[in-house]
Symmetry: C2
Subunit: 335 residues, 2 copies
């Protein structure tokens, strides 16, 4: 039922110009006389002509498609980053192909998808360090940017959090709140960023003279994991006056776990999270946290990808994205 | 720096078979002798051969790409649906192209993107009813599924919520909680689904003998909008004993707004939301809500798209997705 596809030749005939004039009109940077251009555009409009990007991609051996490998879109920070990356790619003339990735998926499938469509580049924001993806991207010359991951290959660019600043800010705010003995609530299988931030947090805390008296790994990295971690922590009987949770959902669950046991924040325990999700500002929590801006991450990632596409043989660079402290009631302890 | 693209002919030579045997090996449903097939796959593997999907798409005039038009990925239900749709498309051999859409964007740009890549179909989950997208899809024969939208063209299939059941369940649970005078908290620019559900809620409430004493439109459809609506509602001085908020974020904000004014849920006011976001189960809220399962929505959408692709000339059908009542403490009033 669809209409016959209009070709460049149809447009050339309608406009009374050569086939090559049509082609030049639709090629960025090609030279064409303004009058010719206007005739071509008018004819294209009236015929409903559209450049066939598939054909162009075949000739150029590179499409405008960019693979966006993501996992864990349930997490609002991740979903927001993916949304901003997709908008940024579209604004730059690229088309994001969304490739969800779960632990246990076979990376060969992802790599096949990337190569089958001659993608212009790939962005990986999924949790698992994709060694094979990075190796294959380098082998086939596909520009690759890894977001918040360990380095896996010389050629892949990376965008990472300034985990040193993030860990230090968390330790400092607990110290300023008058805490002396603190606990760290992590997760069973920490991501690269969380592992790195934990080390900087522990180092900064010790440097400030704080005693790191306990470490608990949340079974899940969500609200339920935080409540469950609070229960286990309280059962251990270790006394502390401050806690740093590795993400905000865990921190909020931890606060609810403390409440269930009759303890309150910040009077009994100061709590600092990380991410600055919308829920952190809710009056039931007023959680102090370390903010990483999704817009900053998306911008740095798109800049890195454009640089890789422009200079495919340059070694991959690492861009650090800054963080900031958002102070709320959960660390404002009575002195 | 990338290696020369390996062709089907290279594979045929290495395997010692014909070019056509290679082609048949990589075509779904084509017949090829098992021994030949094994030789071809071994040669393809050793040479790193991959089917060029761009070339195949050009020949078939249809790619395996499916446009996924989305807005508002910040909303966790939307992000989860997009994730499930993308996974489902990949599992069925399609590749989702993520096209973010904001109010005020020019639809022509989206339509161009869809046609330039000869997409096999399109799914629209964005808020604004995309009249032009539906018209152009029909004109160019692109199968289209609209998720939670008003009908816009004969040919587009739709997946919608059973808003009649959702509205009725919300009214019934307030009635069972002993409420007699209730309020409805909506939003300034309600989506199709919310508008439809509101009508069914009001009708069911009246049928049950409840007085709908007030209606307030939240300025934003998030937690802040809920708190602000509570403030405005309380300032109006209208007395009610139950409230239905059009989504869970608004409902949770409304509960926080009541708390700020010294009122509590459910003792002073029963509250019922809609969506069943993760936060609804948090102990600070224990919100009764109407659940729509993102998995059900994604499955129905993918089934509808596959049906449209298989039978492009059939009129678009509408599939209703069921809802269920999740009862928590926010409607368990002392009798």
């Amino acid at each position: 039922m669809s209409e016959r596809q209009v070709t460049a030749l149809d447009v050339a005939r309608r406009a009374g110009v050569s086939r090559s004039a049509v082609s030049r009109t639709f090629t960025v940077g090609a030279s064409v006389a303004p009058a010719t251009r206007d005739k071509v555009l008018a004819a294209a409009e009236s015929l409903g002509y559209r450049v066939n990007f598939l054909a162009r991609s075949l000739i150029l051996r590179r499409s405008e498609l960019v693979a966006l490998v993501v996992s864990d879109m349930d997490h609002s920070f991740r979903a927001r980053t993916v949304d901003l990356l997709a908008r940024g790619l579209v604004a730059r003339g690229y088309r994001p192909v969304l490739l969800p990735w779960s632990e246990g998926d076979h990376p060969a499938r992802l790599i096949d998808m990337m190569l089958q469509y001659s993608v212009a580049g790939a962005i990986v924001t999924s949790d698992t360090p994709p060694h094979q993806i990075a190796e294959q991207s380098a082998r086939w010359g596909v520009p690759l940017v890894l977001v918040n991951k360990a380095p896996v290959a010389d050629r892949s660019a990376r965008v990472v959090q300034d985990t040193e600043a993030a860990g230090r800010l968390a330790a400092e705010v607990l110290c300023s709140a008058g805490c002396r003995r603190i606990a760290y609530i992590g997760q069973e299988r920490p991501s690269y960023t969380i592992r790195d931030r934990r080390e900087h947090f522990i180092a900064a805390a010790r440097e400030l003279g704080l005693v790191v008296a306990a470490e608990v790994a949340g079974a899940a990295q969500n609200h339920f994991g935080g409540m469950e971690a609070a229960e286990r922590f309280l059962a251990s009987g270790v006394a502390v006056d401050g806690v740093h949770c590795c993400n905000d959902f865990l921190a909020i669950g931890f606060i609810d776990g403390l409440r269930r046991a009759g303890l309150s924040t910040p009077a009994d325990l100061a709590v600092v999270g990380c991410d600055d999700i919308a829920e952190a500002a809710w009056p039931a929590y007023e959680l102090t946290t370390i903010r990483q801006d999704a817009g900053d991450v998306a911008r740095a990632t798109l800049d890195a990808l454009m640089a890789c596409i422009a200079e495919p043989n340059a070694p991959g660079r690492t861009t650090e994205v800054g963080v900031s402290l958002i102070e709320r009631a959960s660390t404002q302890r009575p002195t």
